[in-house]
């Protein structure tokens, strides 16, 4: 139980701290009287977000200047947008290069034809639900960030407005579903993903990704565990920030939304880059891998090659069952 508690506790603490921090910096200077008679000090307070009274009833109407908006614009447009493009383009390029140079990780020994169950029906349903949602959310999210640069002129106003509206609707309505699916996945698979010495050796041997090395691995190898934790930690950030953004009906300050947007965009772009690697390894990159998640069963030869310790455990269980 303790092993499951601490990462969840950490995630909870992080979320709590972050929401407190963002709230703490949100209040404008709370001076009862703004000093000076319309002098420099007076306007400085206004410029920093000082509030006055107003007849307007909408949120933050009393605040004359929202200067954080300019910082948000800068960080989003000058940093997140280009960095995201580089991360995604770079990852794609590297993977393409890797495939051309190293090629597919093939089975060393021929298939024996005997299958072992690796993923249950629920595992597969969970995985594919989250995966498909991830793809749709990824495409719609990337459209919101980048599509205007190349699709708007191509599609023309009518098609463009329909397309981008569809992206927004898909993103906002499917987002919470992704949160649910991801949470289920994290809770169910966490126990398989704690790091141990086997993983350290696996990493030191490069995961057997290049060359003939066959480092040992359990049910999940080091790389898979890394992807799991990336999905958990970065994924929770995406989900929390996404939920804050998706439900503005709780009177969030603009600054809260700005921060949430930056976290959401940066974390999502990270996940997208990672997912490219995951998709590559799980499909064209490794012979015999995809059928595992598609059918639930893997060939014995594949299991022995990639997850020998897990294979031994499964065989041991089968032997115990056979001998009463």
């Amino acid at each position: 139980m303790l092993r499951i508690k601490w990462p969840l506790g950490l995630a909870l603490l992080f979320t709590l701290l972050w929401s407190v921090a963002s709230h703490a910096t949100t209040q404008p200077p709370s001076e009862a009287r703004i000093a000076g008679f319309a002098g420099a000090e007076y306007w400085k307070v206004v410029r920093q977000g000082g509030e006055g009274s107003t007849q307007a009833q909408h949120d933050e109407a009393g605040q004359l200047i929202n200067s954080q908006g300019d910082y948000w614009r800068y960080w989003r447009n000058e940093w997140v947008t280009p960095a995201g493009a580089i991360a995604l383009g770079g990852t794609l390029g590297l993977l393409a290069l890797f495939y051309l140079i190293v090629g597919q990780n093939k089975l060393d020994k021929p298939r024996t034809g005997r299958k072992i169950e690796r993923w249950t029906r629920f595992d597969r349903a969970n995985h594919w639900t989250v995966a498909i949602l991830f793809i749709i959310l990824g495409i719609s999210g990337l459209s919101i960030l980048y599509a205007k640069f190349f699709l708007k002129d191509l599609l023309g106003d009518e098609l463009w407005s329909s397309y981008i509206m569809l992206c927004k609707l898909a993103h906002n309505y499917l987002g919470p579903l992704f949160v649910l699916g991801l949470l289920v996945m994290i809770v169910r698979w966490m126990k398989y993903n704690f790091f141990n010495k086997t993983d350290l050796i696996w990493f030191l041997k490069g995961g057997g990704v290049v060359g003939k090395a066959h480092p040992s691995a359990g049910y999940m190898n080091g790389g898979e565990k890394l992807w799991f934790w990336m999905l958990t930690i970065v994924g929770i950030a995406v989900c929390v920030s996404g939920l804050i953004l998706d439900f503005p009906n709780f009177g969030q300050f603009r600054e809260t939304m700005q921060w949430s947007n930056l976290v959401h965009a940066a974390a999502s772009l990270l996940l997208l880059a990672g997912s490219l690697g995951h998709i590559y390894i799980g499909s064209v990159g490794t012979e015999g891998a995809l059928e595992g998640m598609k059918t639930g069963y893997v060939d014995e030869a594949w299991a022995k090659q990639h997850h020998d310790l897990w294979y031994e455990e499964v065989m041991e269980k089968q032997r115990e069952k056979a001998e009463p």
Binding site: R33, F37, A40, G52, S53, Q63, G69, K148, I164
Partner: protein
């Protein structure tokens, strides 16, 4: 070409909210949305100051820079307008705007805000000038008639000035000089470059 700007002379603003009412009425703005607002600092104190603010039609508009659908455009006069047909109601323009000008008719779950609405400098929108669609979506198009925004036209003290930036600044400069004392504009004592204690040339 003229560059259209607003300037609110906070020394003259009396918080009558005439500009707010004029705008709302002229443009038949939808329920719950207010394109212009008057903010009063130090309300009730001796140094109470009011200022009227709506969209400032920035030369480098942040709203335009962050819009995912690229629905904003700037006219030759520098007026920043947007296309409600392309707007997806994401709210980014509101997060970026230094003045909080973009308004949304609703605040619901799943980010359903409706179409963004804001001050158009009474210049309408992308629809054809004076058409019924333009009136329904964006309000009045006074600029196309050669008139200035209703808020400035109806300001009871002529605090709110609107029009070509150089003409507006000329008027304001005249006022500051005419006032002849150190807090004639937005400064006091040493911060004002103009030395009012000297004789006028």
């Amino acid at each position: 070409m003229a560059r259209m700007k607003f300037l609110c002379d906070s020394k003259r603003c009396i918080e009558c909210n005439g500009c707010v009412t004029a705008c709302k009425n002229e443009n038949e703005v939808e329920w719950g949305v207010q394109r212009r607002r008057v903010v009063t600092i130090n309300d009730g104190e001796a140094d109470e100051t009011s200022i009227s603010v709506a969209c400032m039609h920035c030369s480098d508009a942040p709203c335009m820079a962050v819009c995912p659908t690229d629905c904003f455009y700037q006219t030759e006069d520098g007026i920043v307008l947007h296309n409600k047909d392309l707007c997806i109601g994401c709210g980014y323009c509101l997060y970026a705007c230094p003045f909080g000008a973009p308004q949304f008719p609703s605040s619901a779950a799943f980010g359903e805000r409706g179409k963004m609405d804001k001050c158009t400098f009474c210049a309408g929108g992308p629809e054809e000038d004076h058409s019924a669609e333009e009136k329904a979506k964006y309000g009045a198009n006074r600029i196309a008639e050669g008139k200035l925004p209703m808020c400035a036209e109806l300001c009871s003290t002529k605090a709110l000035l609107a029009g070509d930036a150089s003409e507006v600044s000329d008027i304001f400069r005249e006022r500051v000089i005419y006032r002849g004392h150190n807090d004639g504009a937005w400064a006091v004592e040493d911060e004002l470059a103009y030395d009012a204690s000297q004789q006028k040339a």
